[in-house]
């Protein structure tokens, strides 16, 4: 199964290779610029806007969209939804790659990346939410690596090591959920310290709760979204269990996402009411807030519900895309659009093309790595040696 090569895939992948190759070359040039000239020449970061898309997109969106790993493994191993078992490996893989890329992106963003371990080995600043984020991301990346390791071990034939890791599954899953709860929510809590800079419609003492819940939403939707893409591009890699999941998984995950989105919608409204922010809704920011709340929360909740009720898998897949986009919009709003809302336009931030270029470069690395791994390791199929047991 793994050795089969489809001719039309060859063509498609060679086109992919050209585009990806061009992006990688650009990324490498920008990387050299970044580390020889400094942050200033490649970015539009400023003293007023110390965080740009490398934080707003690569960190905040990256971590949220990589939530599929903990959401899926918790659903399958802890909450007994064994029928989605086949979804675990691809979700863990994308989670692992996602977090690895987040850490890579941070090396571009921070001023002295070689000091990134300092908070843990030199002087921990435990009063900082960022410390919590850093500690949890570092630990969780390790957990994801171990959770993912059976696949390369099967590929390399390391049966004994694999057996040990597999025994740890439940423990690792619980550990992963704890760590994810902590850092997903802490990413929102990062902004609690700046009530004067974040627009009141987005600032809320519930920010950590919002971020955690949206990470569940993002995780569920990303699993649907990825499975859509995988079924499109890697179907020949899949075994019967994966192929069978093509329609059941969107229905199950879509239903869960509909519930969580509806709950999220409600607590967002509660948040506005608690801070009595209704009057802001009449402003320009209010209109944009409503676009986010109605267009990217209420609408997908509704569409998911319709899709599940009518068993319309196509609709669910599109809704997953919309929901993922909604999480991106939310993280952008909190970290950039509604951040520094009080400053005049001239002092506001808009990314430079080189910042965008590096973000695209990093996402491309992720896609290349994903493709490399799923075409070689038992991700979308069960390894024959471990199958019958």
């Amino acid at each position: 199964m793994s050795e089969m090569v489809h001719p039309e895939d060859n063509k498609r992948f060679s086109r992919f290779n050209i585009v990806a190759g061009a992006i990688v070359v650009m990324g490498l040039i920008l990387t050299v610029l970044r580390f020889t000239k400094g942050l200033g020449p490649v970015s539009n970061l400023s003293d007023y806007n110390p965080w740009g898309i490398w934080i707003g997109f690569d960190l905040l969106v990256g971590v949220a969209l990589a939530a599929g790993g903990y959401v899926t493994s918790a659903a399958v191993y802890l909450f007994g939804m064994k029928r989605y078992h086949a979804a675990v490996r691809p979700a863990i893989l994308t989670g692992f790659l996602g977090y690895a890329l987040v850490v890579l992106a941070l090396h571009y963003d921070v001023g002295r990346p070689w000091r990134l371990p300092y908070p843990f080995i030199v002087q921990p600043g435990t009063t900082s939410l960022l410390f919590e984020v850093g500690a949890c991301v570092a630990l969780y990346l390790t957990v994801l690596f171990i959770e993912f390791s059976p696949a390369p071990m099967e590929w390399l034939g390391l049966k004994k090591a694999r057996a040990i890791v597999v025994k740890l599954t439940i423990l690792l899953t619980i550990f992963g959920v704890v760590l994810s709860t902590l850092h997903q929510s802490s990413l929102g809590a990062l902004f609690l310290i700046a009530p004067s800079k974040l627009h009141p419609l987005w600032y809320s003492s519930y920010l950590p709760v919002y971020f955690f819940i949206t990470s569940v939403i993002a995780g569920l939707s990303m699993v649907i979204f990825e499975s859509t893409l995988s079924h499109q591009y890697f179907a020949h890699k899949m075994d019967a269990e994966h192929l069978a999941e093509k329609d059941t998984l969107p229905l199950g995950f879509g239903k869960a996402a509909a519930f969580v989105l509806a709950g999220y919608f409600m607590i967002k409204v509660v948040g506005i009411a608690a801070d009595n922010n209704w009057h802001y809704l009449a402003t320009g920011y209010g209109a944009w807030f409503l676009v986010e709340l109605l267009g990217f929360v209420a609408l997908p909740a509704f569409l998911y519900a319709v899709g599940v009720r009518e068993k319309n898998v196509r609709l669910i897949r599109w809704t997953a895309g919309l929901t993922v986009l909604g999480v991106v919009v939310n993280r952008f709003n909190v970290s950039m659009v509604a951040f520094n809302y009080h400053l005049p336009a001239a002092d506001r931030y808009f990314p430079s093309w080189m910042e965008i270029g590096i973000s695209v470069f990093i996402v491309t690395i992720g896609i290349i790595a994903y493709r490399f791994i799923v075409t070689r390791m038992p991700i979308l199929y069960a390894h024959p040696d471990y199958d019958a047991h």
């Binding site: 921070v110 001023g111 921990p124 009063t127 569940v216």
Partner: protein, 398 residues
């Protein structure tokens, strides 16, 4: 086929306990710190400031900062609003129309000049935010920065409500955060801060914070016509060691009055207090959920075994039929089950029977089990002999 409502609610409440409970738990992990009582500060009397920029020049000199783009005696820079930036610890901004020939200082017609620098908060946001503790609140009152540990994450800049810390974005290898130190090295030597020493009109006064507050109150009391009744920095963001007096509302002078009086550490203490709760409660809850589902699977397996036994007597008649059924496409079985939430018991038993028979008849024949059950009555092969073994789910059962 999908999560049952009950399970979903249980799941959400579990999540809620983790995320919501700790909000009420106050400063479990943050040090409650309310400033050093004898700390020193500076009082900036905006009414007396003439915008000469000599403080800027002195600051540049005593801190050996790079030469500025425009010389310090060039007052044209007052035409635009400036802020602290890399290598510039302090700036003076003008608010109101530029002075004309006949307007003299203190005449009321003159514009206001406001010196901006680090306010040396009693409970600094920057220090609370830094994940390597690069900032220290000294007993003398100054908030100082240690470039030797700084990673350059710039969270301190996000956190500072007064928008003070700046970053050396153009330095590729050793960029630092830069900000006013209250001239801490000079203070410990018994010298005055450079800017205070240079001020020709005593618009900057250095002293014990308590004394400065008393002095400010006296001035307001004596000249209620000249000052607004507000000492900026007395309470803002929990209070600062740099204090301001002004002749007009501070919001007109680029000093935000909507910051509130809650100190930065208190804004995040709830979220930090959540950590021990999540770490303590989540594993217990999740293990419980896992154990419950495990037990449910066990009961389902027993039910399956019973069903198999009961069916065995009738097997002779149905065996051929069952074999055909088992050979049929798995997808057909899936379709049949799709979306079905609460299956009729009879149907479940029938399915179990056919599956079990199929297994018995053609062992290890079917890699995936279409009737993989959860929450519904269809048991699946968690009995060890099950053919739907996946690389990671079986071992932990063993």
């Amino acid at each position: 086929m999908s999560i049952s409502r009950r399970k979903f609610l249980g799941w959400m409440s579990a999540a809620g306990t983790g995320a919501l409970l700790p909000k009420h738990l106050g400063a479990a992990t943050t040090v409650d710190f309310s400033g050093y009582p004898d700390s020193m500060g500076v009082l900036h009397d905006i009414v007396r400031c003439i915008g000469c920029r000599r403080c800027e020049a002195a600051c540049n000199a005593v801190n050996e900062l790079p030469a500025p783009a425009e010389p310090f005696d060039d007052l044209k820079v007052l035409e635009r609003k400036r802020r602290s930036s890399a290598g510039v610890y302090t700036v003076v901004n003008r608010y109101g129309a530029p002075p004309t020939a006949d307007s003299a200082p203190l005449s009321g017609a003159s514009p206001a000049y406001v010196k901006k620098q680090c306010n040396h908060c009693l409970e600094p946001a920057c220090a609370s935010a830094c994940f390597v503790k690069a900032f220290t609140k000294t007993p003398e009152g100054a908030v100082i920065y240690d470039a030797k540990v700084c990673v350059g994450c710039r969270y301190c800049m996000i956190a500072c409500p007064f928008e003070i810390p700046a970053y050396e974005y153009d330095n590729p290898l050793t960029p630092e955060v830069t900000k006013c130190t209250m001239c801490h090295p000079r203070i410990v030597e018994g010298l005055l801060p450079g800017c205070v020493e240079a001020c020709p009109t005593e618009a900057l006064i250095y002293g014990k914070r308590e004394d400065l507050l008393a002095m400010a109150r006296r001035r307001i009391g004596k000249h209620p016509d000249q000052y607004v009744e507000h000492i900026y920095g007395e309470r803002e963001m929990g209070g600062t060691n740099w204090l301001y007096l002004a002749g007009e509302p501070f919001e007109n002078l680029g000093l935000r009055t909507d910051l509130g009086t809650t100190s930065a550490p208190k804004l995040t203490s709830g979220a930090l207090g959540a950590v021990p709760i999540v770490v303590g409660l989540w594993p217990v809850l999740l293990t419980g959920v896992y154990a419950m589902n495990k037990r449910k699977e066990k009961l389902a397996a027993e039910a399956q075994a019973a069903a198999v036994a009961a069916a065995e007597s009738a097997a002779a008649q149905t065996l051929t039929e069952a074999k055909e059924k088992a050979a049929a496409d798995q997808k057909a079985a899936l379709e049949k089950l799709k979306g079905e939430h609460e299956k009729a018991v009879a149907e479940a038993v029938e399915k179990a029977v056919s599956d079990a028979l199929a297994e018995a008849a053609a062992k290890a024949d079917s890699p995936a089990d279409a009737a993989d059950g959860d929450g519904d009555a269809t048991p699946d092969g968690e009995t060890g002999a099950a053919p739907d073994v996946k690389p990671t789910s079986d071992e932990e059962d063993a």
